[in-house]
Each structure stands twice: as structure tokens, then as C-alpha cells.
Symmetry: D4
Subunit: 248 residues, 8 copies
């Protein structure tokens, strides 16, 4: 519904001023003292709000988790610490925490998983970022195939898995150090590749900058890149693409 | 067909050694003196080979254009110069050239355009990159909606077009200078946003690096980024996503 | 008038749908084939639209200049070339061009100039950027005091002019190379200092990056920075500040 | 009073040598063993000296706080630690400390607050920097409207507050990650926008560098930028601008 | 054996499908839950797999060490911590740890050391990286001459050792700060120089970036560079070169 | 012969002072007005001096070419322009010029080529740098296998050539853009890989910096890197390695 | 004479107001329309003003040259073009121009040259910068020893000249590429070394940034660095040091 | 004594082989297991060896301190920790430690201090680096005037001390943040200014990089720069310059 249609409905009395105002933005978030929960978000984008836990004060984190949990019946947070897990568990006993992916979420996850994406890593050190991506995608209802430790310096490991990887609607390629995995994948498959540079490496890896540059400069087609260590962002956009494929 | 299946067919005699060898990689490109045309590419990825014209010698460019044209019945090149247009026209009279997008292609383009993507730009100076993206997507069979000059410093221009933009399966957001357009778009729509930083700007824009960093750091969801000025790459991946949506 | 008030007026019939739509953004720009002239801009921000000429095609530039000139009765462009001057002069004979500031504008400038700002430069090579700032401010109705070539390596030149500079409501400090002028000015005056790094220099000046960093890190108070060589931006914000001081 | 006037008064005997010397700089600071307190500062710039606490030794910090407190009757420090609070409280019992803004100041703050500025943040993690800005401005006598968590990825939150924000004489826009908030604000309001990049973010945010570049490259008008996390500097220059508006 | 030969043997029945599949890559690594041990590596490259210990979880590290130790009869890890030493010692009592080089390996090293390489350092702080290089080379069967603390600021120290250094088949030159040692060595010897920048330094050394740039830009011939602090990589390639010289 | 031995021979009269002085460095170069030709170089390093032509004045270039040609009977220059070819041809008629590699050398090259190195490129645009490497190696007596256009985005092209590449004593891997070729090669072969980043690319390739970082961070073993576009340096060190292998 | 003394003399009538004002800064430069010639400079610093010609308009350059020539009897400019030479020669026939150093100066230079500095370069391409340094020092009365093409990759060339170099009061070390010359010199001599990075190089030399970093990080003592290609600055400070040594 | 002279004396028997060898470099350092103490250093450069304590192991540090103390009768170390002080005091009871400058040295300092240098700082946070510079210079026999907290944002503090500063033979200017102090000093004095950037600052100061760039780009004359926080290096070169002035 665009602006003009909204205005016509207001003129016609089909829509009240407060309804129209809400649609136009005034009320589509919930004012908290320190934050504006984006409650219109699910309506607007098809995804519930996810909490970025890192750096939030204990008090703020608790309030946000409880508010979302009360409203949505579930809650999902990224980059959480073990301390934050303890904190939230006192209020929401069913909360669970995965120390690898650092995801803090309510546990009853029996959603139907649809379509298929593949999450690949170059090495074992890239797994925490990959798990953030995979579990995010699963939270949003996507079936995930994990293909870990298939970096390009032992190219046969990757090639032997190509058929399996190729069945996905979208591939998330996670790699640190020189970050060459997405380039090779891009030449082997039909579907889009979301590249995630990681901060794995040392010296001139510059905390992931080198891998980021590699992926941005890829000469392969069908590759787009998210921020360093941004597993969540990759899981999110891969879900969007997968939903298009399964017709959501 | 994976490796094991190929081997079984060789064992059974259903596949000759040379056929198998070809499938396994030996012959899926055509050896030229100076290049290896990737003739298996369309089979492997669903897209015909596109020629990156910039920096190619006259002799090489001509040979590659003719070879592809003879094989595929059409040919499509990016980053071509007016000089290269003149050069190729002598051999392939039906070639056409768009000085804005710098695309050099054979003209008979009456393909059915399917699905829908939107190509948005922040300013008018971003149009050449946007056209490279749009025409690439059209070459691969995608319907493209163009929404130009809707940068965030006049946010009302963008908001009034949101409904129209939201109908796309994928949005390409092209912006130079501070590159904030994808962040705002990401919060307004359901579909994935492919962000293209451009080298438009001066001073601390550092030829597009600043816009690239903005897009990579976007706090909005559903955004992935391609190289600076890489309209072609954006058009390619947007087509992949659009094909998934229309069921190709 | 906020959203709710607009909706109430639509409901009451005091405002038509098309009027409301215009206010809400739909019509506050003028659609051209390639650009969206921001005709609601003066209303919204108090400043008419200014044309950034660099990189615009001849055809686009001409159309934009004529459209604004016809609508506003005056037009003002920055970063214009001598070629663009020739081009526009054929259509708008009263246009004038200053090769130093590279400003292209209609000539009858007898506006009342109000308040006072000072534009200072460290060296003579910074004058083109300073003139872009000064003439922009004058175009928007600000009285400008020019104080050029008072760089910190001959500090007595600056100190002897301090009394004069101190009478301004806002100071624009333009400097390349090490860019130290704003720091010294910041400690000598009461009013805000807008710092403009320039690309003047060589070697490790990195086209103005070094001066930009100096200014951003200034230990003096009351300093804020615009982009390298962005005289226009400095003239604009200085005018905003000056208007506040004179009560506009 | 400029140099010549001072000299004339010395010649005439209206000014003693020591008075003139003081005016000309010799005595306008107070020599401490390790520092030169800038006691002429309030006279010269209209603002009392503020203490940057971070990195100061306990002994130096205490001496400076006591000296200023004894001279001015109040004292205000930024970037203080909890330890420094304990330290100073032993000597100045009325001192108070805000762990969010990290401001350490004497408590009796019943100054009249004049004019109006708005302090906006993109997210909740930007609040500490915003509070440093807001409380600095309040210390210098400015009325502050706080508008937090209105980042551009949920643009409706910002637009619904635009009317309120627009009443300010100056806006401070605080944002980390991609830092796009000032660009959108710049297009919506009449008044100057002071942009403060924050170190909030991860990966390619490079501790605020990315946000800084975004803001410096803003294509919106009326924006100038201070250092990463420099809430104090933003509060200071916003106060200067606000004073001009209210006629101080 | 190339692809065609493998296929012919499959056709002829000399090779089973599973054997061929293994050769073509399917089985040349051992699937662990979290990693793919590259057991075909020694066959393919002539070097056993080395474990990069840093950042591995205790559980993963132990499993990998035991698996390699059981399979190969020896195991060698780099960048190990004292904690990891304790951990592994519980399972593999003969393991030894060198806190300088941070190498964790099984002890019975009585391999014949062949050929000769020289490992040189500019200062004493570069020794840990040099030892990683030297011990890696020794693990792979190379005789190593250590020449430490011969940096260019006391050039006589280096020149007096030139005859000795010149007997090597390959030189590893390890240096931090300005990293000039490889340039001088390159002009004095016949053999290839592998340059290793270290993170030793402060200020503008930028954790080794400055030394890396120095070495990459060397105007001397016969120099190639590995990553900052990458002693292992230097020891590896020096061994490859030494093996060529001794006819392995 | 080390310093002490030289001194003993001087003491014994077996060596004259001028001979010793020459050995110790005094006379091992030839003083020209503007340069010091390193005539002891071949003795010291086993390689004749090569001329870096770029940026040399016509007068200097001619003098240097003639002096080396007269002394050595042959001369070899890199990064020469067509203009420099014309210039030198007037004096040395047998000179030849290759516009692709930009190598300017005397023509009678019937040296025996020994051993084997492979020069691989990722794309066709990398060929000029590869030819500089290959022809340098050939000038110094190395047999070169050229394997061009085998970039990782079409990995089958590379795999089908692996057997051929593996016969080399050393591989030079030349790649621009994301520069991933050396990583994949490093995992496939036994011999050292010299990686050469090229300035081929655009946007965030930063004139080869991105490829350089990729190669320096390679997680594959047996890779060392030379400067961007430094084909000469790669050909030189590959020759050193090849000579070790063939027993020179 | 400090401020207090000046004021006392004014009080006593020994100094007129205008004299005092001049001393305090008011008149120690000459106001031109566009510049402030620093005529008090020679008095204040012991050096006459030098003209940086690059980027100056023809009109400004001519005026400045004539004014200085008329006042001082001589004039000296750096970074001049051949065009500027032609321009000035029309007005000042005795002007001379050196295309290597790009210095434009009046010719009658028979000053006594005192003391001794050495100007060393790593290669022949560094000579233009070295000549700017040498001729600047000579203009200010310093005797200069030139030692060119003694880079560290052929260390014997440098060592054989050490005795000669050591006689200088100050050494200017000019080097591009990896810039290691100052480090080696710093360990061989007693006197201060002024290091000048040059933009000579390619690839990762980043127009001299790499050499600059090398020099700043030098582990040798007695080295300080000026800007890339800043021969003038090096010649200036070397002259200051030489004057101290000869007792000026 | 140059090489030829040494050889002549050997031939004549005036010099023994071992003496000559020592002079030529063989024995001018003392081999320790892990380091080569540069005992010829004082002879060669006029300065005793100074110990850079940071990062040295306890065992190495102790051995080096004792060896130098035994040989020279005094010892001087920079960047020492309190722990290292405790460590050394057990062996050398007269050792003293200054926690501000982090200098660890033997105490009986009654050397005659000659000449005069001035050490200036912009702020109080720069004092630790300044003290490293000042105490280094004093250790080498230089009289030091300290002028602290005279940064350019309160320019009158600096100007009132100019007369005093001007008496020095060399000035060390220490500044962090924007680092503008050397530029202003350079225009006020005759003598050379050694600029020391410090890591004082936050945000875009990038640990001193910004101040370093400011100083390298200074438009003032007579300025050369050392590494970030390198007080020692500044004290060393200032001493060299001061010695030239006093005729050492």
C-alpha cells in the first residue's frame, strides 16, 4: 500500500488516522527508555527482530530479551557471552546457549526447515562464524547443509563435495587468511555465493581485511560479500534467497 | 553427474575415455593461443561467457568476440571503449555499443524478460554503473525496473518509490560518496539487496573505498556487496536470485 | 506539520490527497528523465539546489541549469570547467564563470549580505578551495571576510589578524599539507571553526588525507571538519551558523 | 583589543607592563610543575577549561581538579574511570560520576539551560558517546533534546521524530557501523548537523574509521564531523552554535 | 598418473571405481567430525601434515594430534601454548615443547639432516620466529646454520659472516622494524633469500607491515617474502629448495 | 675467501694491496659519472647486471647499454618503452624489443636452456608480467613451460594441466584481481611456488595490493611472494632455484 | 627581546608603537593581494624565503619572483617547470634552470661554501631529489659532497666510500623502493643522517610510502626523516646542522 | 683509516692480521650466545650501546646489563618495566629506575652537561616520551631545557617561551593527537627541530600515525621526524647536533 492509497483510505474513512499513522511509521516500534524495539519489522521485512548481544548492558539486555520473548514467543540473540547466558536464564529458563556460535536463543526449535542452503568453510577455525550463519538460517526456517574444512589449498577435498554443494539454492562460503574459497566455488556452481571473510589468520591478514579484499575482487561470477565475521548477515540474506527459491 | 557416476559409466562402457575426460575437465574449454575460452561454462553455471574488454589487445579482443559469436550466436562485452566498438563492427556488423554503460553486444535482443529486479542509484553520476548492471541482467533474461537518483540526502524521493521497489525479487543499490542507500533500502524491503559502491566522489571517498566500507558495515539486514563499480557482477548475481524466484 | 496533523487534515477535507501526498514526499521533486530535481529543497532546508557540475554530461548539465534558472531565476554550480561555461553561456547569456573557484553562476548578485564569517587559508595554493567556500556563502547571503596566507609556520601573520578574524560568527579554515591552521585558530577565537583540508601537498600528504587527519584529531575545541577540498560544504554550513546568529 | 591598541595604552600609561604582558599571553596561564592551566581560556573563548582525565596520573589529576575547583567553583572532566572518581571524591566530596558518559563533575548544576540542540543516535550502543556530548552541552548551559536509537535501517523511526528534531538550533548525530544517520538527517532539517562517528561495530568498521569516512563523504549539506567517539567536541561546538542562535 | 590414464585403467578393469575415485580425490583425506585430515598430503607434496595449534579447541587439538601420531608415528605442531603442551602430554608422553619457537612435537628426532640452509636474524627479538623456521626445516630433514643478531645497523657483523652464510642453498632472513636485512643479503650471496618480516618494533612498524613492505620492495635480486612472523612457511619453502639442491 | 685469508695473503705478499682492495670491494664496480656499474656482480652472484629501463634518461640509458654490451657481449633490459628501443637500436643494431613483456635485449639467444620451471597465469591480462618472468628466466638459461589463463574461477582448466605443471622445479604463479592461483597451486605440487601479484583489476584491487595480500596470507605451503608486477624478480629467483636443482 | 622587554621600551619611549608592533608581528610580512611575503623570515630564521613554484599561477609566480629579486638581490625556487623558466626569464634575464633538480634561481652564485655535508643516493633514479637537496644546501652556503648510486643491494659500493662520507657534518640519504640506505649509513658514521624517501619504485612502494616507513622504523641511531621527495627540506635542515658545526 | 691504508699497514707489518681483521669488522662485536654486543660501537659512532629492554627475556636482559656495566662502568636502558628494575637491582645495586620515562640506568651521573637543547611537549600526556628524550640526551652529556605543555591550541603559552626556546642548538618537539607543535616551532626558531609524534590521542589518531603524517608534511622548514614515541631516537640525534655545535 503506497502513500496515496493510504491517504485515499483515510479520506474515505476506511482507515483511521491512528491506523494510517501507524502504517506511515509513527507506531511501528515500541518505545523503551533506551531503545526503540522494531515491532513492525516482521511485518515489513518478514523477519523477527534479532538481538545483537555484544556490548549491551546487563539491564538493557534482560529487558529486551523479555520484551521480545513475551511478544513473539521466541527470542534469538547473537554474539552473546556465557555471562549473558547465565543472566538471561534466570528470567527465561528455557533459553539455550551455544558457546561455538555464541548464539543465545529459546530452545523449542521444531520449525519446518525448507529449501536448502550450504554453509562451507575453508578451515576448522572458521566454524564459529559458519555456525552463526547456519543457526541463523535455521532459526528463520531454512534447511542447512554443513560442508566444513574444504579450503582451496587441498582442492580435492572441495571437488569431491561439489555435487552435494550444488544442490543448494544459495551457498555461504566462510574463509579467513587469504579467503580464496568463494572464488573457486563461484566457478563450480549455478547458485549465488555469499562470501564471509573471517578474522582467522595472523600478520598481513589484518583481522580479516585481506580475506575481505580477496572476496570483493573475486574474478568468479555470482559472489557478494558481507562484513568480516558476519555469520548472522550471511544466514539472513541466504534465507531471503532460499525463500524466493521455495516460493515463500 | 559426480565423479563416481562417471567412473561407473566408463567401467560399463557407456562413456568413452575421451568423453569422461572431457566431463572431468580436460576439454571443457577451448584452447586458443593466448586464452582458454570456457565453453563448458554455460553448462556448468547456466550463463554464457561474457567478455571483459578493458585492457585486451585489439587482436585478442577480435578473436574472442568472433569465436564466441560463431559458437553462441550472440556475444556480450563489458567495459568496452569506442575504439573497440569500431574494431569489432568491422567484423560483426550487427554489434551495438552503449557509451554510458560501455557495453558492446550483438543487437537482436528480443529474449523474454522474466521476474523482476530493481536497479536503484543514489545520484545521476552512478547511472553508468547502474546501466552495466541493468543491461547485464537483461542480457541474461531478467526484467529490470530502473529507479535512479533516490539518494538518502533527500529521503522522501526514496520513500515515495518504496512500494514500486518492493515488488522486485532482488534490488541492486548503486551509490558512491558515502554509499548509504543500501542501508536505508535494507530496512524497507523483504528481498535481498546487492550493494554496488561506485568510484563517484572526491577527497576522502578514495575512489569508492569509503562507499565500499559503508556498505560492508551496514547495520541493515539482507545486504551483500560487490566490488567498486562492478555493475556486471551485481547484474549477474541478481539474475541468479531472480531465476530462483521465477523457478528457472 | 507532522504526519498525524496531515492525516487529520486529509480526514477533515482541509487537505486534498494530492496535496498531502506532495507534502509527504511524492511530489516534492521534479522528475526528469535522468534526475529528480529536489524542488522542495528550499522549502525543506532553506537553501536552493546547487549543481555539482563535475562529471555531468553536456546534455544533462544544460537541462538542469535551464530548469533551475527558469524556476528559481538564478542558478549556481560548483566544480565547473571552462568547457561547461561555454556550453551554458549559449543558453543562459548572463552566466559568469570564475576559473579560480570554478563556480558557474548567473551574475546579478546584489543580495544583501548579512552577518559575518571569515575564510582563512594557510597558503596561496589553498585559495581555490577558499573561494569556493566564500562565494558559496555569499550566494546564500552571507558577508565574507577573506584572510589568506596566514599559515602556522609564520605564526605572527596569523596573530596580527586575530582581532579581525574574531569578529566573525563562524570561521572557515582552509589548509593543505599538515593542516594545522584550524588547531591554532580554535584556541584564539570564540566562534565555531569549520576546517577544510585541501589536497595541496605532495608525498605523504596523500592528496589531503594527512590534513584531514590532523583536523579531525585537533586538540583545540570548537572545530568540525568537512571533506577534502569541499569548499562548497564549508560555505553551506557556515551560512547555516551565520543565519542562526543573525536571527534568520 | 589588538596589539597596536595595547601598545598605545602602554605608551599612555593606561596599561601597566605587567597587565599588557598578561594580555599578550605571558600570564594567561598558571604554571604548575607539570602543566600550564589555561586560566585565560574562559576570557578568550567563553568556555571554562575541561579536564581530559584519561591517562593522567593520580597525582596530576587530583592537583588539576582541586586547582580548577578552587578557582572556578566548579570542575568538569571527561573520560574518567571509576577509580578516578574514588580518588577525587576524597578531596571534593560533592563530585559526581556517570559511568555511562564517564563524566566526572561537581554536582550543583542548576544553570539555566538556553536554546535547544538535539542529540540523536543510530543505536543504543552509541549512547555513551551521545551522553558525553549531551552532558557537555548542558554543562555549558545548553538545553538538550535526546533522540536515541533512530538509525537509518528502520527509517520510519527517524521520520516520525523529524518534527521534534527540527526545532533544534543544531543537531548532534552519533553513529557507528556504517554511520549513515547524519546524511539522512542533513536532508531533513534546516540547521547544522555535527556528525560524531563512534567505534561501535566490528570487522571492517575499523574502530570507527568506516563511520568517519561515511560522514566526511556525506552528499547531504550542512554536515561537519568531529573525531571518533568525540562526544565532548561535538557538545562544545554545538554549544557555540546554540549560543549564536540565542544571542549570547 | 593423469586423468586420462586413470580412466583407461578403469576401462581396462585394472583399477576399480573406488580406487579411481580415491585417486581422483574422493578419499584422499580422512573425515573427522570437524576436520578433514589431509592424509594424501605426504603423497601429493612430499611433506607430512603440520598442525597449526593456535585457536584450536582442546578437544579438537587432542584428537588431531593423536590421529596423526597414530598414523604417522610422529607429529609436529606450531604456535602452541604451554597449556596445549600440558594437554597433549597427558596423551602422548614423549611430546616436547620449546617455549621460544612455540613448537610442540614428538621428541625422537634423529633424522639425517641433509644439505644446508642459513637462518639469519636482524636482532635478538626476531629469534622466536627464526627458531620456528629453523626447527620446521630440521623436522623436514634440512641441516640449518643459525646466524643471529646481524642486523644492518652494524653492517660489519653481517659482513664478517658472509663467507659462512654463502655456503647455504637457501637463506632465511628474519627481521622486524625496518626489515632491511634481506636487501643487503640479496646483494652478497648466490642463493635464494626467503624474507620473513616480524612484528618486532613499535610505532610506525604497524605490527610488521612496514618490514613486509620493505622486503617486497627490495631492489636486491633473489628475494621472495612470506607472511609476517611466518617462520613455519619460510622453513617449509627453504626445505623444498634445499631438497632440489641435494637431489631429493 | 674471507677477510682473514685475504689479509694473510697480503701479509705474505701473495696478494697485492690493490688486488686485495679490489676483492674487499673498492674496485668491484665501474665508476660512471652518474652510476656505478656493478661489474663484480656476475662474479659475486652468478648473474650479469640487468638494466631497469623505466625512468632512465635517454643519455644515461644509452651509455649503460653500450658499456654492458661492450663488456659482456650481451645486454638485457626490462620495462623498456618503444621509444627506448628506437634509441638503442641506433647504437646496437642487433637489439630486439618485445612490446608485450617490454624487454629490450640483444638477439642472439641460443643458450642451452636447462632444467624446467613453469610460468602460470590466472588470466590473459596477466601475460605481460608472465612474459617478463619467462624471458628473464630464459635469458639466464632456464627452460620455461608457459601455462596461461588457468585461473581458479574455472578450476577444471587448472586441474587438467596439473600433471604437466608438476614436472617443474619451480612454479611462477602470476595473478591479479583476487590472486588466488598460488594457493591452489601450492596444494597440488611438490615444488616451491613464487607468487607474483599483478596490478590487473579495478576498484578494491588497489593496483595489486589486494592480490599481494592474498598471496602473503596463503594458507597453502611452499609459497613466497615478490612485488606487484615484478616478473623480473620472479624469473630471477626461479632461476636460482632451478640452478640448484640442475646442479649449477 | 621578549614581550616584557618590548613593552618596557614602549613605556619608556625608547620604542615607538609602530616599531613594537612590527617586532610583535604586525609588519614582518609584506602584504600582496594574494600572499603575505615573509620578509621578516631571514631575520627570524637566518634563511631567505624560497619559492615553491609548483601549482602557482603564472601571474602570481612572476610577481613573487620579482618582488623577492628586487628586495633580496637573488631568488631561489623549487619544483619549477620549463614553462615557468621561460616565463621568469622574460623578466629576470639572469635566471637559470636545472631540469634535473627543477630548481629555478638567479645565477651569480659565488658564495663561499663552508663546512661539509654529504648527499648520498641509493640509485640513479633518486638523483633529481638529491640534486634538489644539494643545490638547496649550496644556495644557503654549504659545501656538498655528492655520493650517488651506493644502494645497499651492492653494499661494497657503499663501504668503499665510507671514509669519504664520514668527513661530513651531516649526511642526506636519499632512497626509494625499500629505502634501506639510511639504516646502513646510520651504523657507519658519527654524524646525523637526514633520510629522504623518494617516490622511485613501483607496486607496493606506494609512491614512496614504503620507503618512508622503512626510514621511520630504522633500528639505527641518528636518523630523522623528511617528506617523500622533499630534497629541499633535507637541504635546509642539513644546512642548519652544518652551520652549527662551523659556528655560524 | 680506509681499506687501502689498512692493507698497506698489514703489508708493512705495522698492523697484525688479527688487528686488521678486528678493524675490518671481524672482532668489533662480542659474541654472546644469543646476541652480538656492538663493542666497537663507541669507537665507530661516539656513543656507547644503549639497551632496548622491552621484550627481552629476563635471562638475556640481565646478561646484557652486566656485560655492559662491567665493560663500560655504566649502563643505560630504555622502555624498561618495574619488573626488570627489580631483576637488575639484585645484580647491580646502584641501578635506578624512572617510571615516567621507563629508563633504567646506573645512577652516578655527574657528567658535565654541555651545549643546550630544548625538549618541548604539546600536552602533559606527552611527558613520558619527552623524558625519554631528555634523559637520553643528558646521558650522552647534553644540557636539556624542558618546556612542557605548550601545545598550539593555546598559542600564547608557546609564544611567551619562544625567547627561552630559541637559545637551544636543537629543539625536540613532542606531540600527539594532531601533532602541530613542530610546524609552529619551525617558523619561530633558527635551529633544527626534531619532531617526535606520540601515540597520545584516540579515534582517528591511529596510535600516532596521524601526528606522524602531520609532522612529515610540515610546511615549516628545518623539521625532521623520528618514529612514534621514539624519545630515545630524538635524544640521540639531538645530541649529535648539539655536539657539532659545541665542537665535540
Amino acid at each position: 500500500m503506497n502513500i496515496e492509497e493510504i491517504l485515499l483510505e483515510v479520506q474515505d474513512g476506511r482507515l483511521s488516522v491512528s491506523e494510517a499513522s501507524a502504517i506511515l511509521g509513527k507506531e511501528s516500534y515500541r518505545e523503551m527508555e533506551f531503545a526503540k524495539l522494531d515491532t513492525g519489522r516482521k511485518e515489513r521485512t518478514g523477519f523477527a527482530e534479532v538481538v545483537y548481544c555484544s556490548g549491551k548492558s546487563d539491564e538493557h539486555l534482560l529487558k529486551i530479551f523479555k520484551r521480545i520473548y513475551d511478544t513473539e514467543g521466541e527470542v534469538f540473540g547473537t554474539r552473546a557471552s556465557a555471562h549473558q547466558f547465565e543472566l538471561v536464564r534466570n528470567e527465561i529458563p528455557e533459553i539455550t546457549y551455544d558457546p561455538v556460535s555464541r548464539i543465545l536463543k529459546t530452545g523449542r526449535r521444531e520449525k519446518e526447515l525448507r529449501g536448502r542452503i550450504a554453509v562451507c568453510t575453508a578451515g576448522t577455525s572458521d566454524i564459529p562464524v559458519a555456525e552463526e550463519a547456519a543457526q541463523t538460517a535455521e532459526y528463520f526456517g531454512t534447511f542447512v547443509e554443513r560442508v566444513y574444512d574444504v579450503g582451496v589449498s587441498g582442492i580435492h577435498r572441495l571437488i569431491s563435495r561439489t555435487a552435494q554443494i550444488s544442490e543448494a539454492n544459495c551457498i555461504i562460503a566462510v574463509a579467513g587468511m587469504e579467503g580464496a574459497l568463494p572464488s573457486v566455488l563461484g566457478g563450480l556452481v549455478h547458485c549465488p555465493v555469499i562470501a564471509v571473510p573471517t578474522s582467522v589468520g595472523y600478520g598481513a591478514s589484518f583481522q580479516g581485511l585481506s580475506a575481505l579484499l580477496t572476496m570483493i575482487n573475486s574474478c568468479a561470477n555470482g559472489i557478494a560479500v558481507v562484513n568480516i565475521d558476519n555469520g548472522y548477515g550471511a544466514g539472513y540474506i541466504a534465507t531471503q534467497i532460499n525463500r524466493l527459491a521455495v516460493g515463500d
